[in-house]
Amino acid sequence: MAREFDVERVRKDFPILSKAMRQGASLKYLDSGATSQKPIQVLDAERRFYTESNAAVHRGSHLLAEEASEAFESSRQIVASFIGAAEDEVIFTKSATESLNIIAYGFGNPDSGSLCLKPGDKVVVTEMEHHANLIPWQQLCKRTGATLAWLSVTDEGRLDLSHLNEIIDSSTKVVAITHQSNVLGTINPLDPIVARAHEVGAVVVLDACQSVPHMAIDVRELKVDFLAFSGHKALGPTGIGILWGRAELLDEMEPSLFGGSMIESVTMETATWAKAPRKFEAGVPNMAQAVGLAAAINYMSDLGMAAIHAHELALTTYALDALNGIDGLNIIGPNSMDSRGGTISFTIDGIHPHDVGQVLDQDGIAVRTGHHCAWPLMRRFGVSGTTRASFHLYNTMDEIDALAAGIKSAQKFFKVD
């Protein structure tokens, strides 16, 4: 039932967008790849939780505890149905980073049964992974004696699948891969990778940080086995992430955080675990943030993920066009609209990304500069960093015009035009 997508109406829900920046410039927020802004509906939902229902969930027989548990568990339901998952498969973590680490710890625990890696086993990642989907696997391999291998990236910023069958071979137990690159904007072709992984009996871990906030996702359709994303990039609060896993795998996998609420029974010497999702949610959880994330998801669902996606693709088309018109600007990543999302990295001949960012900031244009937590990818492209513009549902063509104008004035200022 998606209505016409009205960006001006959407923008009214985001109070920060009317903030005055340096010297009174208006904010042009093009850094949603790092974190998104939050609509007032999310802030209100969190506040309502605190002022009306705040109590420790699952731990009291009083009315507040009942309402808090209801709010928390119905948030879980909202997340589950948003990604096509069963409710008990959705685990609240603090971030995608934590979600991915939980999986990596699970695969290193001898009590995880057949999931536990051993020397000779292989973990496959890609050269475009965010550090959060790379270092946990490096550490897992170090702990277990397994080997880390990776799919490399082509000059166009695509995964090189020409050696797929050698890289993902019968020793491969885990394939951990990003859905959409946080640097290049590339949307990776999951079908052949998932098919190959499952052919050799490996599980597929999907880093969906940059896809869940921008397009409709169904974990069953993607056929992946685990999925992670962060709330703060999806219009939700900071301090919350999601870990989704297939029920059978969550059942087999050991938890990595131990404490209250995740137990079945405890003595001084030993303890047994509750079933998922509880097993993976030790301690009083981030209840208000779960409620806030559910509000963010409801906000996006009301607008319609298809409409949001279409809006962002239109922005990206417009932006690629505008940026390609600037001499001395090099797009790092796909320079066409084929399988890419609204994240564009670039370099400017003769100006360091930091300096580009600084000049843009002067005009209220917020971009990110540096290695974007994907240092190996920077080396792959022989750059020390890039400037990155990344879009979300509240961005406009005007902001892209401002970006292009800002880049040109940076070139003028640094006399490289």
């Binding site: 699952h58 731990r59 027989s61 505890a65 009942e66 548990s69 609420s261 079945e264 029974s265």
Partner: protein, 150 residues
């Protein structure tokens, strides 16, 4: 007052004088269930004969709701064909999930309809279900064992 609708007289009676409490020595199987969030526990002995529930005895600690519910359950299922007992359990689970919208079928659930009020208190539903889930688990395990033998 809501309190009386939750703690009906019949519940308090079962709580004070629980039926089938105290484990019978003979049994096909023994199961032990806990409620991890409050620490309540139940041990249940089950005997089946010719496809009928011939004996359910139990012991454990718990609140009035869990004790009364276990007592009522043990009465309700004893003597019934297993399939019918499982159907009763289904009905009871449905009543507990009804959030106060159902009053329960007295023909099937007998004394257990007194527990209808529990469904309005989500935190107490697991108390009411503790004994029933133990019974269900026991049946599943006995049946599993029999299948193993065939």
């Amino acid at each position: 007052m809501e309190l009386e609708s939750l703690y009906q007289e019949v519940i308090l009676d079962h709580y004070k004088n629980p039926h089938n409490k105290g484990l019978a020595p003979e049994k096909d199987i023994q199961v032990h269930h806990v409620n991890p969030s409050c620490g309540d526990e139940i041990t249940l002995n089950l005997t089946l004969r010719n496809g009928d529930v011939s004996s359910v005895t139990w012991d454990g600690v718990g609140c009035s709701i869990s004790q009364a519910s276990s007592s009522i359950m043990s009465e309700l299922v004893t003597g019934k064909p297993v399939a019918q007992a499982m159907q009763t359990l289904e009905n009871f689970s449905e009543l507990m999930a009804s959030k106060g919208t159902q009053s329960g079928d007295e023909e099937v659930l007998e004394d257990a309809v007194a527990l209808a009020g529990v469904s309005k208190f989500p935190a107490r539903v697991k108390c009411a279900l503790l004994g029933w889930m133990a019974f269900k688990d026991a049946v599943v395990q006995v049946n599993g064992r029999e299948e193993d033998q065939t």
